[in-house]
């Protein structure tokens, strides 16, 4: 068995074990063990990757393997990873593991909950290792559809509406993506009388100029909807607000990153000419999204909505940096995806813990929580600082890289958008500090709050794992940056060669 396929096999086995298990305790134990093994394994993958990288030389993708699947269509199960995918895989494993921990006390249909959650993560792992467009598309849809059940069954508030809206928008986007993928396929170079779905082959010989212009919007929008690009972001706040905690974490932490990753891997790398020519349209939308998300967060009083809009803003920054198409911006952008994934997962985990105790997510009804639940309160302060870009936290390293990259572009549009993006950080600081002040500081507004439980061990475990990663990246971003940067550089060179 090759090293990457095991990433799919571990969750699959976990799901099988869950199906045959009985009792709530065994469900959560099995899930935690399975995802724990997955996390350890993905870290082992990183070490293997680093040693192989040192020897591999110019090869961009490592551990490549191709298994023939649908021969008449030349569809293969083709897998391989570079530094970016490895980073994403570790992120996914960590967030799924912590997601299992925060769902420790799911009461309603616990078996189905963990099965859906882990099927979702299987889709995500498969997505990040795929090098074949068909396989990638399959895993993409596999990751989206459990969301419907997860939000619809275990969600709160207008869950049916939110679940339906999210599913339809994402599947609608994937329908556009399908058109784009088929376009890529039928304009790909012929090998032995067949077109190819292989991204590596298509990247070597991009399609004709006019075809790129036609199909680029399909692929870009298809993925960008998942990345909550303004104005296609509306599924995201509703979905977040209604989803159960672990699902919000996975959703904002990982699923939305699939959008960014897809934009980068498929839209930009396979259709670079179109990205250069009509990328500006989407750049304006991304710039709008940065400000829209930030100001949207400012207006909200529901904790989950605040973070949902904040995610829209941060993801728009990712898309903006991706569209700049240079080494520093891209590295920063990937770093931002990782950093934001961790930060937002921790945010949603903490919001879930607070909500479980206060039974409200309305900031205006809270106050003085730091005194009652000091651990959760302190964590919230820390992650807030990380989100607004405090040095020493991962957010700072990521955003700095993006802005350094962005300021190298002297075009008027890029310059204006960059300045707008920088200014959005101020707005971020406002909405985060406002929440921290209102929710955690000041007098206790509600007497009933004084009876709240302290954080339990599984909640602490989840929070500490995530915070450790955030601070780890913040203090020493060099290793991760190097991992990403080494993978980005050859891709940029490939694009520039193609554009010339």
């Amino acid at each position: 068995m090759d090293i990457l396929t095991i990433l799919i096999i571990i969750p699959t086995l976990t799901v099988l074990a869950l199906i045959f298990a009985k009792g709530q305790k065994s469900y959560r134990t099995i899930s935690a063990v399975g995802m724990g093994i997955q996390t350890v394994y993905s870290i082992y993958l990183l070490t293997r990757y680093l040693t192989e990288r040192a020897e591999a030389g110019g090869e961009t993708m490592l551990f490549r393997r191709t298994v023939e699947w649908f021969k008449p269509w030349n569809i293969n199960y083709e897998i391989g990873v570079d530094g970016i995918s490895v980073a994403m895989i570790i992120l996914t494993a960590i967030i799924t593991l912590t997601g299992v921990f925060v769902s420790w006390r799911v009461k309603e249909l616990p078996k189905e909950f963990f099965v859906s959650l882990i099927v979702l993560s299987t889709g995500v792992f498969g997505f990040f290792i795929s090098l074949d467009l068909f396989t990638m598309f399959l895993f993409y849809e596999l990751a989206v559809i459990p969301m419907y059940l997860l939000i619809g069954i275990w969600g709160s508030g207008p869950r049916e509406y939110a679940a339906m809206k999210l599913t339809l928008m994402l599947m609608g986007a994937s329908a556009l993506l399908l058109v784009g993928i088929l376009g890529l396929y039928f304009h790909s170079p012929m090998v032995e009388g067949h077109h190819t779905f292989s991204m590596m082959a298509i990247a070597q010989a991009p399609m004709e100029h006019m075809d790129q212009l036609f199909f680029f919007p399909f692929v870009f929008v298809g993925f960008a909807v998942l990345g909550a690009m303004f104005p296609f972001h509306t599924w995201s706040p509703d979905g977040h607000a209604s989803a159960p905690t672990a699902v919000s974490m996975l959703h904002a932490g990982v699923l939305m990153k699939m959008g960014g990753y897809g934009v980068f891997r498929v839209a930009l790398l396979l259709m670079p000419t179109a990205a250069h020519e009509i990328g500006w349209i989407f750049m304006i939308l991304a710039g709008g999204g940065i400000l829209y998300g930030a100001f949207g967060a400012l207006r909200q009083t529901d904790l989950k909505y605040i973070n949902a809009y904040s995610s829209v803003s941060h993801l728009a920054l990712v898309l903006f940096a991706l569209l700049l198409m240079d080494v520093v911006s891209w590295s920063g952008s990937v770093l931002q995806m990782i950093s934001h994934g961790l930060i937002t997962a921790l945010f949603f985990a903490l919001i879930g813990m607070v909500y479980e105790r206060t039974h409200t997510r309305d900031v205006t009804k809270m106050g003085g929580l730091l005194k009652i639940i000091p651990f959760i309160g302190m964590m919230y302060v820390m992650v807030g600082m990380a989100s607004l870009g405090l040095p020493g936290m991962s957010g700072f390293a990521a955003e700095l890289a993006i802005f350094v990259g962005a300021f190298q572009h002297s075009g008027t549009l890029e310059r204006v958008l960059t300045i707008m993006a920088v200014l959005s950080i101020v707005v971020t600081a406002v909405y985060i500090l406002r929440v921290v002040g209102k929710m955690l500081m000041g007098p206790v507004t509600n007497e009933a709050f004084k009876q709240m439980d302290k954080a339990r061990w599984y909640e602490k475990t989840a929070a500490i794992i995530l915070l450790a990663c955030i601070i780890g990246i913040g203090v020493a971003p060099g290793g991760l940056y190097k991992l990403i940067n080494e993978s980005v550089t050859p891709l940029i060179e490939l694009i520039q060669k193609g554009a010339l």
Binding site: W69, F134, F139, E141, L142, L176, V179
Partner: protein, 476 residues
């Protein structure tokens, strides 16, 4: 040509006719009180028949070209056999409790097998006479079967509606055939169009002929009979109509368009394009508003037929392969859905979507089968429907039908909404008065299990597609 040849080449037909004769003899000879013993005999014989149809057939023609067959047609018949077999399993309880007391059980099987033999002749037809006989034989008995539940007004209404409209469709089709005969002077498919395809009268006749087939596949705007008949008829008959009958008609439509009417492709491609857009869109829009599960699946199957047209439009061996592959998957998928509806109806008599609220809590297994089937219909991976639809769309995109493809994917998204509605009712909601836990009979379980196996395996196991493609490549 000797008798041995006629027997071996037409073994499917002989075997089903043999079963029919045996059942007829049983009806006459067996004592009235012991008629129930014929049910397992009918099913058992048909199991053997189905198993036999998987022995590959050869390319051959008989009776001076009136009858022809090849590996692909043989495989199509095998697909129909499997579909009918699943229906036999799923309808077992219903036949036993509802039909047997009225003494109609045997009639049900005989009519069903007669329909199937009609479909064989339809697919294997080598001229228009044979085609028309097959067409009638595969339609009229269904009208009788639709009216089987004599005490229910809706069932009778369905039968009458079907027989009237089918008569109309046959008439139009026959008129079209006669016009084409007037131009070409032959009824044989071989060399039918050689020199005349530019004649306007021929095109006119062809359009009339096509409407007859479109009626049977229930393409919009020839679909008006379908929802009422589907809703009124017993579930077994609805599955027969919307799965088996539709599959057979799609097969013959594809065979005719890609071979006999090949030279007329400019005309039929345009017609099919419009029909595809209308069928997908209107089928979908009506399905959105349905609350009766049978009616809901009826409209959904109309929309699915629209997607199938994409493959026929793409044409060639690849297009044909995607059509057969899609139909194969569609058979298992739709019968899975109908099977669950039948199981629920047998037990509780309910078939409204609101009755399904909270079904998962009381009947998790049945609900999961329905969820799988609906996901497959909606084209969600990793179940088979995803692969079927993806390949259909690929075939269309390969021929440059990108606008049609965009319309199709928008329709897929719309269809996802209504496929999620029963899932929402079953899984997301809870009910104070859910359908109580039902215990299906063993036959029903086998039927559903075959469907689930098909849904899970046909997509992921890629040799199936390669096999189908091999068949169509040797055909075209």
């Amino acid at each position: 040509m000797n008798w041995i040849d006629i027997v071996t080449i037409m073994r499917d037909e002989w075997s089903i006719i043999g079963i029919l004769i045996l059942l007829l003899a049983g009806e006459i000879l067996v004592d009235k009180k012991q008629l129930s013993m014929l049910i397992p005999i009918a099913i058992g014989l048909f199991v053997l028949h189905t198993a036999m149809s998987f022995i590959p057939g050869d390319k051959a023609t008989l009776f001076g070209g009136m009858y022809r067959t090849n590996e692909m047609m043989h495989f199509m018949k095998a697909i129909l056999n499997v579909a009918v077999l699943i229906i036999l399993f799923q309808s077992y309880d219903w036949v036993k409790t509802t039909l047997l007391p009225n003494g109609m059980a045997n009639a049900f099987y005989m009519l069903l097998f007669a329909v199937l033999s009609g479909m064989y002749f339809l697919i294997s037809a080598g001229d228009f006479i044979m085609f028309f006989i097959g067409f009638e034989l595969s339609t009229l008995p269904i009208a009788a079967m639709a009216a089987f539940q004599l005490k229910e007004m809706r069932s009778t209404e369905a039968g009458i509606k079907l027989v009237l409209l089918a008569g109309l469709a046959s008439g139009i089709m026959l008129y079209g055939i006669s016009l084409m005969y007037a131009v070409t002077g032959t009824l044989y498919f071989d060399g039918f169009l050689s020199a005349y395809y530019h004649e306007p009268l021929l095109v006119f006749g062809f359009i009339l002929f096509l409407s007859g087939l479109a009626f049977k596949i229930s393409l919009v705007p020839f679909h008006f009979w379908a929802p009422d008949v589907y809703e009124g008829a017993p579930i077994a008959i609805t599955s027969l109509l919307s799965v088996v009958s539709k599959a057979a008609s799609v097969f013959i439509l594809m065979i005719l368009l890609l071979t006999v009417f090949k030279d007329l492709s400019d005309a039929w491609k345009m017609v099919l394009y419009i029909l595809a857009v209308l069928t997908m869109t209107i089928g979908n829009l009506f399905a959105l508003r349905q609350t009766n599960m049978k009616r809901f699946l009826a409209f959904s199957s109309i929309a699915q037929a629209g997607f199938i047209l994409l493959g026929i439009l793409a044409g060639g061996a690849v297009g044909a392969a995607t059509v057969i592959y899609f139909v194969l998957i569609y058979v298992f998928t739709n019968l899975g859905a109908f099977g669950v509806i039948q199981a629920i109806k047998d037990e509780s008599g309910k078939e409204d979507m609101t009755d399904y609220t909270g079904l998962y809590r009381t009947n998790p297994k049945l609900s999961l089968v329905l969820v799988l089937a609906l996901f497959s219909l909606a084209g969600i991976p990793p179940v088979a429907g995803f692969f079927g639809k993806f390949f259909l769309f690929s075939a269309a995109a390969g021929k440059g039908y990108y606008i049609l493809l965009i319309i199709a994917v928008i329709n897929v998204t719309i269809s996802l909404y209504y496929y999620l509605l029963p899932i929402r009712a079953m899984l997301l909601r809870t009910s104070d008065t859910p359908i109580p836990t039902t215990k299906s009979g063993n036959m029903m379980r086998i039927g559903l299990l075959i469907c689930v196996a098909g849904i899970m395996i046909l997509g992921l196991y890629s040799p199936v597609y390669s096999f189908v493609l091999g068949l169509t490549q040797s055909w075209l």
